[in-house]
Structure formats: C-alpha cells, structure tokens
C-alpha cells in the first residue's frame, strides 16, 4: 500500500517543486556554471561568450601576490581564532553549567551577540579600537602601554580582526557546548561526586571525553567558517581590507576581483580554489575526528 509508485512520486514532485526549482536555479546550476566560467580567459557575463579555455585564471590567481597574502592572513586568522574561541567557549559553558543562582541571566547575556549585525557592531569595535578616542588604548594606557594604531598599523590590523572574530563567534559556541554538557548523563557526575573526584579530573575524565564529538564538530564548522571570513573585515575596515591589505581574507579577495576589478572568471577561479581548500580540511578533520573521538 505504501510502496513507492509513480503516482506517489508525482505527488511528491508537486510538494518538492517550489523548493527544487529555486535550488536548481540558484544552487545547482550556478555551482556548475561558475566552475565552467572559471576556465575562460575572457568571459562576457552579459553575452555568455568566452574565449581562451584553460587553466590561465588559476595560474594567474595562484601567482597573484594579493591572493598569497589573503591566503596567509586567512590561515593565521583561522589558526588563532578557532582554538582560542573553542577553549574560551568551553570554559564559559562549564562555568554556566554550575548549579548556582543567576545562571539563566548569565546565559541570556552571553548568547546575545549571536544575533548581531556585524557591520553595525563593527562600528562599535572600530570606535573601541580608535587610536585616539578608543577605550582599548585608554585602558592599555593605564598599564603604561603606548598608543597602538590598531586599525592603521599593518602590524596590528590582523590582531584587531582576530579579536573581533573571536568575540563574534563565541556566543554560538557557548550555546552549543552548554547544551552538550547539559545533555551528558547526570549519573556520571553523581558517581564522580560520591568518589570525591576533583573538578579538574571531572572535567578531563567526564566532560571532555563525552563532549569530544561535539568539540570536533564545532571545530570543523568554525574552521570552515573562519576560512570564509568576510563581513568582519567590512565591519572593521569598511572600504579597504586594512592598511596595505593586511586584513584581506580569501573571500574578500574573491569579491574584490568580482565587483572591484570586474574579473568574474578570475573571481570564479579563486572561489573554486577556496572550495578545494575547504574540501581538503573537511576531509582531514573528519578523518582525524574518526580516529580520536570517543563516541
């Protein structure tokens, strides 16, 4: 009675068609089309004509100093932001899991940045980082640290972006980790309590192992998210990717090629390279997580 039949298949297609049409036009088709465009040396997006089929765009991008810089910046950003924010979020989630009064209020406060518009809150950060009037330099000044040109000194532009990136990603991770910790079977903790296990031991022997699949999963999506950092740069720097491009990320580079330099084929090639990088890391991390994670 409930076997798949052509009639039910037809009915299912009716239910699926609104979503499938949109997905076909705006996800499936552009996926192939953009890869196709990336192989043309010259491609007219208005006439859909191209010439010079080959790997020229890829060679050009890989030899472009700005791309190498973007790659370097994005790598540093990712390598710093992901572990730091995961550790801080984990620590915060453990604290929020304490059985004490007021934790609900703290949760509400900590989760707030999750919904933020990064362009808007970027303005606040811009002002906090302001070398003359910014509160960060004033606080650092109290400790005898000289004025730092956070947003104008090439040495500090990437650190400023990293600070902004850590802040903006924390709320999501705290929410997920807290939910994960609260999902761990209470009996483990009760047993630890009876045995008078120390807090640190409880954390390393119960919380960490039980949470490891989630930590790896969040690690993967944060890693990939960090590789795609873009709006943070706009929020902090506006019309340029920091002094001397020092805060330029791969995605910024892609968009800059696309609408700044008006080079859709090269932008397409750069975005395909980004996709391949993401793909490699996804597989590496998935493999690593299979080996080490305790399920």
């Amino acid at each position: 009675m409930f076997e798949p039949r052509w009639k039910t298949t037809l009915k299912a297609l009716l239910y699926l068609s609104p979503a499938l049409i949109v997905i076909a036009v705006f996800v499936i088709y552009p996926m192939f089309r953009s890869v196709w465009i990336s192989f043309f040396k010259d491609y007219n997006i208005f006439k859909h004509t191209g010439s010079g089929f080959g790997l020229d765009n890829y060679k050009w991008v890989l030899n472009d100093g700005r791309f190498i810089l973007a790659l370097k910046n994005t790598t540093i950003y990712t390598i710093v932001v992901v572990p730091v924010s995961v550790v801080i979020a984990l620590f915060t989630a453990v604290l929020l899991n304490s059985k004490m009064k007021g934790m609900k209020l703290f949760e509400t406060l900590y989760f707030l940045p999750y919904i933020t518009n990064l362009i808007a809150i970027g303005l606040a950060f811009k002002f906090i980082f302001n070398s003359t009037y910014g509160i960060l330099n004033r606080i650092l000044g109290l400790f005898g640290i000289d004025t730092i040109m956070w947003l104008n000194d090439p040495k500090y532009s990437l650190p400023a972006l990293i600070i902004f990136g850590i802040w903006s990603g924390l709320a999501f991770k705290i929410v997920v980790f807290l939910a994960g910790i609260q999902g761990i079977n209470k009996q483990y903790y009760q047993a630890a309590k009876i045995d008078n296990t120390s807090r640190w031991r409880t954390f390393t022997k119960i919380t960490m192992p039980m949470l490891s699949p989630m930590i790896f999963y969040i690690g993967i999506i944060s890693f990939i998210g960090a590789l795609k950092t873009y709006v943070e740069v706009v929020g902090l720097y506006g019309n340029n990717p920091g002094p001397a491009d020092t805060a330029m990320t791969i995605v910024y580079y892609v968009y800059d090629l696309f609408y700044g330099a008006n080079e859709p084929p090269r932008a397409a090639a750069a975005s395909v390279i980004l996709f391949l990088i993401i793909l490699v890391f996804t597989f590496i991390q998935l493999r690593a997580s299979k080996k080490r994670v305790q399920y």
């Binding site: 239910y15 609104p18 997006i45 604290l95 304490s98 989760f111 707030l112 919904i115 811009k126 980004l274």
Partner: protein, 273 residues
C-alpha cells in the same frame, strides 16, 4: 572551599559578560552622547543628558527609515517563502515515499559544503542580467526563497512526529494535504518559529548580495545603508553609533521576546549536525 569556588565562578562570569556586552553598551550609550562627551578625557561613561537628537540628525544624513522598511520587506518576504517551500519539501522528504528520495536528499545535503561565493558569481548574472531585476527588492528575495539547510532541519523535526499517526490518517482516508496542515505543521510549530527567526535574522544581516544587486539609495537595506553612511559620517562617532543602534535595536527586541526559540534552535542544530 565551596564558597571560594562560587565567588570565583561569579567573578569570571561577570567579567566575561562585561566583555561580551561591552560593544553593545558602548554603541548605545555612545549614540546618546555629544561629540565632546564621546571623545572626552576622562571617559564619560553615561550620557547625561541623553542626546536623542543624534538619531534625528543621522536620519537627516541618510534615509534610515527607508532602509528599515526595505529590510523588513526583504526579511519578511524571504522568511515567509522559506517557511512555505521548506514545509512542502520537508514533508515530502519525511513522509512521502517516492523513487529517488534518499538520493535527491543526499545530493541536496552535499551542496551545503559549497561556499556561497561560487554561487554568487553566477547568481548575479542570473538575477541582474537574465531576470533584469537589478536594483529591485525582488532581486534580494528571489534567490533566498528556499533553503536546503532549513529543509534539512525541518525534516528532522517532522521525522520525530510518530509515523503511526500518518499511517492511521491514511487508513482513515485523510489526504496528505490535510494531514500536513492539521497534524504536521501544528506539531512542528516551535521548529517553524525557530527556522523563521533564524532566516529573518540572517536576512536582516545579509550584506554581500544586497551590496551587489542594489544601486539607488531608495533600494538599500540597513546593512548597505550603514556601510555607505559610515563612509560619509567620517568621525561623527555619535552619529555612527546612533546609526548602528538603529540596525541592531530590532534584533535586540527579537532576542528579548524569542530568546528561548533562538537558543534552543542553535543548541539543537549544533548537536544534530
């Protein structure tokens, strides 16, 4: 010893909360200061008297009221569309048995890996050139009227509704259409609210697509208007903070009223993965 732990925990959490919330506090209070107060030494922590006219001044510089209405139209438009397309698609993937169901679903899921930058290049051509929708609000809605991720999320929720209910309804001769609207949708109400909120917030904060697809001031959304404004206002920090607050305030209100749905949704999607 126990009390020491308690006190340390409170101190750490309070310090962390201050850091997390400070940018909001600084932006909102900054929006109510005079230029002299916002740049004063020593620091002026609280705006007295509150300079509400910063908001009217910002509005004179740039039509944030129009940006606001545009953003509401686009956000509501995409959210309603996404909910409708997701309800239909998730129902088909969750309850209807048809040829190629699992294959289609896994192909769709695998496309989630693709960075949106690849898609945007071609989508720009599709919407601006082929559909001739350059500089319209429709251009900001159409590509986002369906979402694989939300179909996936909703399907998870639909799958939790006991299959027996569906079989029983079938035996009773209830049509799929009726069953979807009378049983599935009411049962997944919370999930639908969560998905709606997620989509609304994402649409509210969208940046690159509206930047590419709109030129004229009258078609700008808040993120774009704010970006241009920050270029023009220069060092009028109090006006910048006022403009930023206009963009963020609706999100804060949504968070206050729907916190539970947002937090549960994030926790759930994070665990499920």
């Amino acid at each position: 010893m126990k009390n020491v732990y308690k006190i340390i925990t409170y101190i750490l959490l309070a310090a962390g909360a201050v850091i997390m919330l400070f940018p909001f506090f600084w932006m909102i209070t900054g929006s109510l200061k005079t230029y002299n107060q916002i740049t004063a030494t020593p620091i002026v922590w609280w705006p007295v008297p509150a300079q509400w006219n910063n908001y009217t001044t910002a509005l004179e510089y740039a039509p944030f009221d129009i940006y606001f209405i545009n953003t509401v139209i686009v956000s509501v438009g995409t959210t309603v569309s996404v909910l409708i397309t997701s309800i239909f698609a998730a129902f088909a993937f969750s309850r209807l048995k048809f040829r190629g169901r699992d294959t289609i679903f896994s192909i769709l899921l695998s496309t989630l890996m693709i960075p949106s930058q690849i898609l945007i290049i071609t989508n720009y051509v599709t919407v601006a050139v082929r559909m001739q929708l350059m500089d319209t609000l429709l251009a900001l809605i159409i590509p986002f009227t369906a979402s694989i991720f939300y179909i996936y999320l909703l399907r998870e929720f639909f799958n939790q509704i006991p299959e027996q209910l569906y079989l029983a309804a079938k035996v009773d001769g209830t049509s799929d259409w009726r069953y979807l609207w009378k049983i599935m949708v009411p049962n997944a109400k919370n999930a639908l609210i969560t998905i709606g909120l997620f989509n609304f917030i994402a649409s509210w904060n969208a940046y690159i697509w509206p930047l590419l697809l709109t030129n004229s001031e009258s078609k700008r959304v808040l993120s774009i208007g704010l970006k241009y404004f920050s270029g023009e206002a220069g060092t009028d920090y109090e006006l910048l903070m006022a403009a930023g607050t206009i963009v963020i305030a609706p999100l804060l209100v949504i968070y206050l009223f729907f916190r539970r749905y947002i937090v549960e949704g994030v926790a759930r999607s994070g665990i499920k993965g």
